[in-house]
Symmetry: C2
Subunit: 399 residues, 2 copies
Amino acid sequence: MKTSKRLDYVPPSPIRKLVPFAQEAKKQGVTVYHLNIGDPDIRTPEVMLNVLKTWKTNPIGYDQSQGNPEFIGALLWYYKNIGFSFLKQEHIQVTLGGSEAIAMALFASCDPGDEVLVFEPFYANYNSYAAVTGVNLVPVRTTISTGFHLPDRKTIESAITKRTRAILFCNPNNPTGTVYTKEEVSILVAIAATYRLFLLSDEVYREYVYDGKKHVSILSYMGQIPDAAILLDSMSKRYSVCGVRLGTLVSLNARIMAGVLRIAQGRLSAGLIDQLVASKLTEVTPSWLRETHDEFEKRRDILYTGLGRIPGVTIPRPEGAFYTIVGLPIKDAEHFCQWLLTDFRDNNETVMLAPAPGFYATKGLGKNEVRIAYVLNRKSLARCVDLMGIALVKYKSQN
Amino acid sequence: MKTSKRLDYVPPSPIRKLVPFAQEAKKQGVTVYHLNIGDPDIRTPEVMLNVLKTWKTNPIGYDQSQGNPEFIGALLWYYKNIGFSFLKQEHIQVTLGGSEAIAMALFASCDPGDEVLVFEPFYANYNSYAAVTGVNLVPVRTTISTGFHLPDRKTIESAITKRTRAILFCNPNNPTGTVYTKEEVSILVAIAATYRLFLLSDEVYREYVYDGKKHVSILSYMGQIPDAAILLDSMSKRYSVCGVRLGTLVSLNARIMAGVLRIAQGRLSAGLIDQLVASKLTEVTPSWLRETHDEFEKRRDILYTGLGRIPGVTIPRPEGAFYTIVGLPIKDAEHFCQWLLTDFRDNNETVMLAPAPGFYATKGLGKNEVRIAYVLNRKSLARCVDLMGIALVKYKSQN
């Protein structure tokens, strides 16, 4: 019985494919520190959990396909609060995680075989949504030596073909931790305007920008390119609710919004409980948000300083999000990351990292790089830095 | 800015597209009885709601892409309980609603342009998943005169072409309420085996079969066609948790399961809260399930008897699920259903129905039919029957 050809093109997640090795290690009683996935240990705000504790609604029925009205109201409050009061209810589509927002945006902007520019290394799951929607991701390379900032306008433009329909970028960036400057975002906006491309901005990590830098949102350009700009957003990281599967697609383009609503009608609605939990974002205190931001910045410091001291390690200063791509003195990150789980133990502990090649589209790139998510508490993170130092010495001696 | 061509092919939901008219009626103070959507008023089992009231997990993090282990265990317990103890963990993929299970199954069995046989009228959202996955649904007609039972084997086979990859059927059926006999299911199994087609069985309403009839599950045939059979399932209706977005895709085909897991990895996980709520299905009492079944059967009786008395109404005896397609003495169901919301009021009340043409793929079919979901309590339902009788007389005099 033959499955579809396209099923073979859906890639395994580079973040998750080593999970069986981690499970095996845990079975052996080994402690595995997870720096492979962006699932933070930050506690979910109590005000959200209280929705559960005081739950009344019964039965738990479908919600509206566009999204729960209370939740949409909360989202509008949030966007107004960060300076974008022009958004209205009809500009918001609630999605099943940021994942669905990305898949919807690719579907709505591209027909099968159309091309979307992405800056590699990029969030690996973009490959999944591209495979599911039949879209070709065309990588434009960024490198560790420039902190993964964008190449110049001409280089980006040279990747555009007749089939290019969109540019997709993540800012602050997963997996690199890069925060694009106003100039960089402006160039993307100018290219989108010139070539009439959709500009899809994934801003899931908007709040996590360090060293006093400012985040530049696509929302600032929605007046300039109202039909082209699409914001992709998620609750997961902002409020430490990754298991609450809620994201948003935001656009002023009425055809896009009508189309994604039709897709949304097909899957009926997002979860009612999740939406009522997330609606309490209006009551999350500024101090919770500030403390969470500051905590990640301190973790960034531990990682950046610690890894910088290990001979042969290249780490650009992470500017935002809670990821970074690190260059290691090894030849094959896939092998190294697996070896960490299967062979390496120090005091019966090891660390799980994501091999970077899965974040590149171009074969052969990122072979000596890993992605690190600094989502564990500072003590654990310091221990992870130590483990990596010890492991690299041992790995070199054995391989 | 041109959106993709395929976005235009995603149809609006016939179940939901009249919602704005209903909202307008409600604004005017009119009571609208919703028989348009399968969102039952049955209370969610307390044992599930108690999960919320005693919630401890913090943070609410990602779960495993295949599904929460406790929830998968509960599902295996359920399938064993209904007689299918051969299923193992690797045969289960937890999905974001039954919707995602259907979309995954179409993607995994078909490349773009491939064909899937469906029996019309069919669940309208199949059109959405087909549009999203680029699959052509090929309708095989069933008619109200035979209670929407399947045509003979030859008629079904005559719809098969070189591009046919699967047969998709819903049993008990939404929108018709038909429950296929063992002979009918066996014929589909035989056709799938002969032509090497996937057989996708949507059994979301498995528990709702009336008049002492037995449901025949695709699970009974998984030994016979292990690579071809795919079960599509959902928690929504079984436990009255439509707003808990959880379904399952079940198959013994290892390539299918590996492929859908890769798709699932791309969207990370289903909701943690929803999965822990649904895990309590093992503690839902047999009496809750029996009472819910009996309640729907009584509602079926009210609808069947009541509508059968209205002159010009054709209603086959609904055998299962909680839907039925009813023939009305009108020419244009779209117009009638909209008129009910915009013009008709009796004692300031009206009823919302789903026009049947949206459930047919063949243009021109179902024009005098509506789909009714008998999801309201018996008193409301009796009132709806009265309203329909009064409305039909009034409509005839005005149109």
